[in-house]
């Protein structure tokens, strides 16, 4: 039943997005495609942090793996696009499994440090194996718009379609997972590991599984990123990307899939919008160029002050039915503290 409902919701969303993408101009379609790759990766991360209670500060590393898998497969193996996307998710998932095994033994700041290290170190392998990975220059990723759509079909709309399809599939799968036995077990582990393991749950296995799922999402997001940007370069996967993902997850509302969409919208639209406003008001370029960074910081502070549970949490508080209060966003960071009433249930 749940599956059917999620599928129905996805179909509705797909129709809306299809309509939207046709209405939008080529640049807006491009931005829509950008939103999708962030949304996919952030959705995975928000599940990891909000549901299983493990922190990853280095999720950009899994996007890196996904992007380079896509680039290499398209370049050398000429696989069809859907196979390339699936393979990218799978390979990132395998890497996530390896990291997850280590992560399940680490707590709090140590886990954050280990994942941070991964994000910093991994992109530099491109310089180590320059011949294969293209060094700082990276690899080109060429995806052609299918010829059945006609020669005048905007390529960015095709990218938006592929991105939306991937995002919807990811969201349906994650939504089901949340509501399954696994999702409930993750919440139990997050709230109290000792209680969870006393109830017969295999805590370590559940934590590794969460890492696998979430890095598969990041891999798929990275694959889309490479396709949308037509390249995979190490500069793209600098630490800032990992921090952006984390910011988007927290900004949107940890543990919430809708929140992942909100966070991604902020990531993509805020800088462009602010730059446009700044330049149209005749600010000098040196000031204008720095304004998005300032506003971004201000938005972060404001959201955290006004909506400690993220945008989705805030919306639910403002407009939602008398729903239970959302999970405290930083419950991850005080894991051993027994759960209080308002920490029991995650947001959706």
């Amino acid at each position: 039943m749940t599956l059917l409902r999620h599928l129905a919701a996805a179909v509705v969303a797909a129709l809306l997005l299809l309509l939207l993408s046709v209405k939008l101009d080529a640049f807006r379609d491009y931005q829509l495609a950008q939103v999708t790759y962030y949304a996919i990766a952030v959705a995975g991360l928000t599940i990891l942090i909000g549901l299983s209670g493990q922190l990853s500060v280095g999720h950009g590393a899994f996007m890196f793996i996904g992007a380079y898998t896509t680039a290499l497969l398209l370049l050398h193996a000429h696989w069809p696009l859907e196979a390339v996307l699936a393979a990218s998710a799978v390979i990132a998932a395998v890497a996530g499994g390896v990291v997850g095994v280590a992560a399940a033994r680490l707590r709090g700041p140590y886990l954050a440090g280990a994942t941070l290290l991964l994000a910093v170190a991994l992109p530099s392998i491109t310089s180590r194996w320059q011949g294969v990975l293209g060094g700082d220059q990276g690899l080109g990723v060429a995806v052609n718009t299918p010829s059945v759509l006609g020669a005048t079909f905007p390529p960015t709309r095709w990218l938006a379609w592929v991105g939306c399809a991937c995002a919807l599939i990811t969201f349906v799968l994650l939504a089901n997972l949340r509501h399954s036995r696994i999702g409930r077990s993750w919440r139990a582990v997050r709230d109290d590991e000792v209680a969870a393991s006393l109830s017969g749950l295999n805590v370590a296995r559940l934590q590794v599984l969460a890492f696998v799922v979430s890095s598969a999402c990041a891999g798929l997001g990275g694959a889309m990123l490479a396709i949308v940007n037509a390249s995979a370069t190490p500069g793209t996967f600098a630490l800032t990307l990992s921090i952006q993902l984390l910011t988007a997850a927290i900004l949107g509302g940890l543990g919430s899939l809708a929140g992942a969409v909100w966070g991604s919208l902020v990531l993509v639209y805020l800088p462009t919008y602010i730059t446009n406003v700044a330049t149209s008001h005749g600010l000098s370029s040196s000031v204008g160029a720095n304004i998005p960074i300032v506003v971004y910081g201000a938005v972060l502070i404001l959201v955290m002050l006004l909506f400690p549970n993220g945008i989705q949490g805030g919306l639910r508080r403002l407009f939602g039915p008398a729903a239970p209060a959302a999970a405290a966003p930083f419950s991850v960071l005080r894991r051993r503290v027994p759960a209080t009433d308002n920490q029991k249930e995650g947001t959706s």
Partner: protein, 452 residues
Amino acid sequence: MNRSHRVRLAAAAGIAAVAMVIAACSSSGTTSSKPSGSGSSSALTSSAPGITPTSILIGSHQPLTGVAAPGYSEIAPAANAYFQYVNAHGGVNGRKITYKYLDDAYNPTQTVSVVHQLVLQNNVYAIFNGLGTPTHLNVVSFLNSSKVPDVFVASGCGCWSNPSTYPETFGWQINYVREGKILGSYIAKHFKGMKIGYFYQNDEFGQDGVKGLDYMIPKAQVVAREAYNVAATNPAQEAGGLVAKLKAAGAQVVVSFSVPAFTALLRLSEVTLSYNPTLAVSNVGSDPITLEGLLNSFAKKTGGFGATLIQNIITDGYLPSLGSTSNSWITLFKKVHDSYVPKLPFDGNVLYGMAVGYTFVQAMLKAGRNPTRQDLVSALNAGNFPQGPSVAPYAYSGSSHDGITGAYIGVIRSGVLVPQGDVLTTDNTATGAVSPDMTAQPTAPASGVPSP
């Protein structure tokens, strides 16, 4: 719970969709101008996207923030200053140039994003002087498949001259292979038998430069080849480690193909390690004023600290030296600088921006009164492009999209580039000779605006 969940998911998708529609509507001011046929020869028409009877809109991606910003962030404002000067003196065939340059922070992903915005949303006529090799490489296919002229890329990568794959793309400054050959021939001649070390950026920029150097410097003389990663998390540590290797290898001459920030870090690491080789730096990483500022700010010093460290650096120049104050081009650009961007230092970056701006105006005039996008490309492909502020002729033709073909060797003395000897020209091949160019550089037009 399931029901409410479904509602929430659908609502989220719905809200997201609505938000994007609103965003799309708020910017619906897209001005796609229709190309009109050949009107009467006197009437100005909207002959191409971005061109109206009164204006020309061009765009660019520039590192206004981030690691490449020091120095390079002055280039676009300087080009814009020259365009304002042209606009104030009648414009290009009566049209005023609007130059919209966006920050990409030297991050390839942001480059893709801002160039899509400029082309798809702002409908620019051309992308002009997009800065950076790793950055611009990410948009060159997009620009060519969209048939948008991609003129005078601010990078000396040989990759821009590929007319069969990238018919829309043109380089401008001397490419790094030619520059490497010119620097290399000087070093081979003046430092015979000495141990030479390379320090270079690990991408096409550094690799092309090294290729040119290797054509001229005997392999046996090169004792170390150290490549730095421009995106290194800790640039100072990155540079320090490599300089230690250069010192360990006993290099007596270090040739550097680096951006200014890394030239400064190289120099500071040398000081830290009490290592004092002869230093030769490619043009893009050797602007004296930029380097002085960077050295002072990195070392938290003031006064003559930076100036002392850059004394005697060997480099090359393809524009007149800022020190030759009697040169007509320097006089012209100083005048434009003083009236439009007096707050910027009058340094090599500002000179670069104005010179490339001048070249664009020349190209637009050659493209005709009501140019299409193709007209601009054809004007450059036609060859015989008039030499302007550059010391050597351009290579533009149907088979080469390279820009300036030569440079002179110079040494930094008291913060000014002092030319040594003739202007040298060469080609991109391993065997092509480096030979002096005896044609005199034309003087700047009295009006400061090129004539058609």
